[in-house]
């Protein structure tokens, strides 16, 4: 999995059910080769797109495979007040700073290969891997 994420991620957007895929139904899976599909992903990708930050994101997703999904990450971030209503990259950076401070203050930290990061930082880095 981590090897796949060394380059821009490719995603399967599941439209139909897995049973339909197994049955070979045409058009049930749409292949998206590149480009963000959700606005927050695009804004975060602009701010956190540098390779060292994406490396953190890949490490986080390797340790938390249940979150290895763009929509899940967006929902997790937007559940926090600091991240609601982000409409551009500058807003994403503000949300990152506020969210980071709030997370450290409330003890919402995660360990990524030993490094203690704010939850929002780790998830934002993970989301950047989808950009």
């Amino acid at each position: 999995m981590s090897g796949d994420r060394r380059t821009t991620r490719r995603r399967f957007l599941v439209i139909g059910g897995l049973s339909a895929v197994a049955a070979g139904g045409a058009g049930v899976v749409r292949w998206i080769s590149s480009g963000p599909s959700l606005p927050l992903t695009s804004h975060v990708g602009t701010v956190l797109g540098a390779e060292p930050l994406r490396a953190i994101g890949r490490a986080y997703l390797d340790a938390n495979p249940r979150e290895d999904d763009e929509s899940t990450l967006v929902r997790s971030l937007e559940a926090r007040p600091e991240w609601r209503g982000v409409s551009d990259p500058a807003g994403a950076l503000r949300a990152l700073r506020r969210g980071s401070r709030a997370d450290f203050g409330r003890g919402r930290v995660v360990r990524v290969e030993g490094w203690y990061l704010a939850e929002s930082e780790a998830r934002a880095c993970a989301l950047a891997t989808f950009a």
Binding site: V47, L48, A50, P52, L53, R54, A55, I56, A59, L93, L96, R97, S100, R101, F104, G105, G107, V109, R111, V112, E113, G114, W115, Y116, L117, A118, E121, C125
Partner: protein
């Protein structure tokens, strides 16, 4: 005066009021005090005035399982590296870090088996005050906020279970330099160099020590006959000398209950975390500095309240700048830059911990099968950190991590990285404690509250071997305070 044992006749008997074995911090301190008390004192020092390899090798010993290690050295070198065997003793490489033990360190704590001293911190307080002069320190002030105000700096932003603390650093940690001239001029004190104490000759009923047997590496042997004997040879060697003195008591003098050598402790030292931190985070408080003539080092430590409430051992940490080493570091620095309100740079450092060790009777020094050049069995040391240490270090590291994280640092912590390997990363700190522990009950301690060996009326022990627990402070200030406290007891015993 200073004399050389090699000039004393073979088979001679030297007479003195008190024989002090060892001329390190404890031995020199108590010799000076006894001199002031008007007693004739014979101090036996194994070495000369500088390092001599043949003498230093007398300290070589064994580490069971290779677990007792110091620094990056091979475990086989731990015992002779940590102790120095010439005039001034181990103060010849002492860093001079001083801090008294805290009140909690003297208490019997429910979560720490075999904890508790028979004396309180308050009883030791006046001796700590005098020990400050002996150790060439500043005023006995350890409130970090007071020193921060004096330095016109803000203290590190701590909170909850973590507090700012300070060490004072001795202006002259080499006791031979500080007090050598005093001892040379003294009429009452004879420091006998190259004089190795090789046994304590006890009365038939083992109630008194009659003579201290002495040997030189050049082959001479003589006795010191004294009315009282003070062992001040260090946290390991005090026990060794008692164990080898087994001609009257098979287990060794003062060891009828198999306690001599047990409860060996040394502060586990180790890097508990690497941190990345923004430049705006001022860690200068942790660097050595002189404030109004007093040398100081900052530290962070768990509070007494936290240790009590959680049933944990004490924990302290200092900070050292260093290079990072993780593959994720570039990203971590970039996160710091992004979230650090424009701070353009970050640095890496190591959080270095010095923790309390719980008393454990299975950690011990015993006599090995091999012998040194004088024919004495060498020491074998068993030292292993246990579950309470593990729990304490990890919980305290987490608390410290929260403080550092709130201040803007990111942590890379080894307990979280690989818990199976964490013990391997801990080292001893050359702080040998506990092998002749103090307790009012002879079933639970080797010496009583006066530092007199239970059942041996004229044998006393000075030094860290009498500490029942380690606290987190470096031991030398307490060693000196206890030596100052012991002196009047010895003088009174002469009356």
């Amino acid at each position: 005066m200073l004399i050389d044992a090699r000039s004393i006749d073979d088979g001679a008997e030297v007479e003195s009021d008190v024989c002090v074995v060892g001329a390190g911090a404890a031995g020199i301190t108590i010799a000076r005090e006894l001199d002031r008390g008007g007693l004739r004192v014979c101090v036996l020092e194994s070495g000369g005035l500088k390092r001599e390899e043949a003498t230093q090798k007398l300290y070589e010993g064994e580490s069971v399982g290779g677990r007792y290690r110091v620094g990056g050295l091979d475990p086989s070198r731990a015992l002779d590296f940590t102790r120095l065997r010439w005039f001034g003793g181990t103060t010849n490489h002492w860093g001079g870090w001083c801090r008294p033990l805290d009140a909690i360190d003297f208490e019997q704590r429910p979560g720490v088996p075999d904890s508790g001293w028979p004396i309180t911190r308050a009883e030791l307080e006046p001796h700590y005050v005098r020990a400050h002069d002996v150790c060439r320190l500043g005023p006995p002030e350890y409130n970090a906020a007071v020193w921060a105000r004096r330095a016109r700096r803000k203290p590190f932003p701590v909170g909850g279970p973590i507090a700012n603390e300070v060490y004072q650093v001795s202006a002259q940690p080499r006791f031979a330099e500080a007090y050598g001239d005093d001892l040379r001029r003294s009429r009452g004190v004879r420091v006998v160099l190259h004089a190795n104490a090789v046994g304590l000759a006890a009365a038939r009923d083992a109630s008194r020590i009659e003579r201290v047997r002495v040997a030189t590496l050049s082959g001479r042997r003589f006795d010191v006959r004294a009315r009282s004997v003070v062992l001040a040879a260090g946290g390991v060697e005090n026990a060794r000398l008692m164990l080898v003195s087994n001609d009257v008591r098979p287990r060794g003098i003062g060891n009828d209950r198999d306690l001599v050598g047990r409860y060996f402790s040394d502060h586990p030292h180790g890097v508990v975390a690497l941190i990345a931190y923004p430049e705006r985070l001022d860690l200068g408080f942790f660097n050595y500095r002189r404030i109004r003539g007093t040398g100081l080092l900052g530290a962070l430590a768990t509070t007494e309240e936290f240790a009590r409430a959680e049933g944990l051992l004490r924990f302290s940490a200092t900070f050292q700048a260093r290079e990072g080493r993780s593959e994720l570091e570039p990203g971590v620095l970039e996160l710091l830059r992004l979230t650090g309100r424009g701070d353009p740079r970050g640095s890496f450092g190591a959080v270095y911990s010095r923790s309390e060790m719980a008393p454990n009777r299975d950690n011990r020094v015993t006599l090995a099968d091999t012998k040194d050049a004088l024919g004495l069995p060498r020491i074998r040391v068993a030292w292993r950190v246990g579950e309470l240490e593990r729990r304490s270090i990890i919980a305290s590291s987490e608390a410290l991590g929260a403080v550092l994280g709130r201040a803007g640092a990111r942590l890379f912590s080894f307990p979280g990285r690989d818990e199976s390997a964490w013990e391997q990363e801990l080292r001893g700190g050359s702080h040998h404690v506990g092998t002749t522990r103090m307790h009012d009950d002879p079933r639970r301690g080797v010496v009583d509250a006066d530092c007199r060996v239970h059942g041996v009326q004229n044998l006393f022990v000075a030094g860290s071997s009498v500490f029942p627990t380690t606290g987190w402070s470096n031991p030398t200030l307490t060693i000196v305070a206890l030596a100052l406290r012991l002196a009047p007891t010895v003088v009174k015993g002469m009356a």
